[in-house]
């Protein structure tokens, strides 16, 4: 049994939240999310998802792009779950 993904993020277009900045840090070999006086070091999958949150690409297209890039399928639920958490943290907002 799988719980349905949160419908509030079913069709949205995510972008990086106001005041946050996503960038690749060579010294840390990781994407980081910078915000006032702080930083989150992202794991590889979080980095891959967030770098596609450009404010123009809908969530379905992000999932499709990730599945293509990593030659896999069935990422939909994980991506939505992550974006749900990320929007709770204000890392992303919905256009």
């Amino acid at each position: 049994m799988q719980a349905p993904a949160d419908t509030s993020v079913a069709t949205g277009v995510p972008r990086i939240g106001r005041g946050f900045r996503l960038q690749w840090e060579p010294v840390q070999s990781a994407h980081v999310l910078l915000y006032p006086e702080g930083m989150v070091k992202l794991n590889a999958s979080a980095g891959e998802i967030l770098k596609r949150c450009d404010g123009a690409t809908p969530i379905d297209a992000i999932v499709a792009d990730l599945e293509k890039a990593f030659s896999t399928s069935g990422l939909d639920r994980d991506v939505r779950a992550f974006l749900d958490i990320a929007s709770g943290q204000r890392w992303v907002e919905w256009v």
Binding site: R18, G19, R21, Q23, E25, V27, Q28, V32, L34, Y35, P36, E37, G38, M39, V40, K41
Partner: protein
């Protein structure tokens, strides 16, 4: 900040994620709790613009990502916009830590254009009278104007108010003001006792009763405001029984450059005896961070004495604050006396107890306002 593994001789030293550029000790305010060194006026030879630009580049190259511009009042430097622009170009997240004095329409536009990401505005209190008294100036209206400018230019409004015995009972009004100014974050930071606040300690330490009341008021507002505004309440170390993991570990994440170019693991570390901190005028930032004696001395846990050395919690707080250990136990390698395992903790408790009820027969001590004249006159270095 993500935590970088502390140095213990086996694990590598991580990058200095946070660069704090203390651009100047000059400040139009005269706050009684200022954390600048008491002898600041003896270090007035400020780094020129080109040296700051080099420091920004060198620190970024070894992995610094957050850059704070502070002081003194950083707006006193008229090259602030040049430095912010370079920091932004290099990929730093740029933070301005300001009293708001000197912020006007023109400068905030320049700063925005330069790529400034964030502004933290300090208030001394919610009312004009107390704000102006505690900073010994007439600045309250200027600060309100600065707050409005910050909002108008699309910045999050992050307010910091230093709390102590003389304003803690106004905390309800302070929070109300933050709501009025549409603040997104409000940090209610109790004074910690270093530098000028240490001189004024007996007048500034809140009583236990005041603290309990203030926290209750803060919690009521948290419930009322929900996610609209985040409230942080920082208790004075003196009321704790475990020390803070100061600066998230010595030479672990933070790199401070003082106005004269001296590199420090924190802004008060200059006080510690027997340590020569390197200057960016003579050394590269990478060599300073990784190889200097000053930055390596208290990294990790290898320097610890008992009770820290065998303490099961030693990795959690790394023995607390070296400056506090020096100020309260006269030994920078001692356990921070805030810890109740410290043999000197009882003395701190006695001090706190003594200050619960000001004695009528005790001589009234005047508050010492931070000032150039006072700084030059003092024998103290910190």
């Amino acid at each position: 900040m993500s935590v970088v593994a502390p140095h213990d001789g086996h694990r590598p030293v991580g990058p200095p994620l946070w660069l704090l550029a203390e651009l100047t000790y000059r400040c139009p305010l005269h706050c009684v709790f200022c954390y600048n060194p008491v002898d600041f006026a003896k270090h007035e030879d400020e780094l020129p613009t080109d040296d700051w630009l080099r420091v920004l580049r060198e620190a970024r190259a070894i992995g610094a990502v957050q850059c704070g511009f502070s002081g003194g009042e950083p707006l006193q430097r008229n090259d602030l916009e040049i430095l912010v622009a370079e920091a932004h170009r290099l990929g730093y997240y740029t933070n301005l830590i300001t009293s708001g004095i000197g912020l006007n329409e023109q400068r905030i536009e320049w700063l925005k254009e330069a790529g400034l990401d964030h502004i933290q505005l300090s208030f001394q209190d919610s009312t004009r009278e107390v704000n102006d008294f505690l900073s010994s100036t007439r600045t309250f209206d200027l600060k309100r104007k600065a707050a409005a400018l910050i909002k108008q230019h699309g910045y999050a409004m992050v307010m910091n108010c230093v709390i102590h015995r003389l304003n803690i009972d106004h905390i309800d009004r302070i929070i109300e003001l933050a709501v009025e100014l549409d603040a997104d974050y409000l940090e209610l930071a109790n004074t910690q006792f270093y530098s000028w606040a240490h001189i004024n300690r007996d007048q500034l330490l809140p009583t236990r009763e005041q603290l309990v009341r203030a926290e209750a008021v803060t919690n009521r507002w948290r419930e009322k405001l929900g996610s609209k505004m985040k409230l942080f309440f920082v208790v004075p170390d003196y009321y704790e029984t475990r020390p803070k993991k100061c600066m998230n570990g010595w030479g672990n994440v933070f790199l401070t450059i003082a106005p004269d170019g001296v590199a420090l693991p924190c802004h008060t570390a200059r006080m510690l005896p027997g340590l020569a901190f390197p200057s960016v005028r003579e050394h590269g930032v990478g060599a300073i961070w990784y190889d200097s004696e000053g930055f390596n001395r208290y990294r990790g846990t290898g320097w610890m004495k008992e009770p820290c050395a065998s303490c099961p919690e030693r990795e959690r707080d790394l023995g607390g604050c070296r400056c506090q250990a020096y100020m309260l136990a006269q030994d920078p390698a001692a356990a921070d006396p805030v810890c109740d395992k410290s043999p000197r903790h009882a003395e701190l408790v006695a001090t706190v107890e003594r200050l619960q009820t000001p004695r009528a027969d005790a001589p009234a001590m005047p508050l010492v306002f931070r000032g150039r004249k006072e700084s030059l006159a003092t024998e103290r270095q910190f």
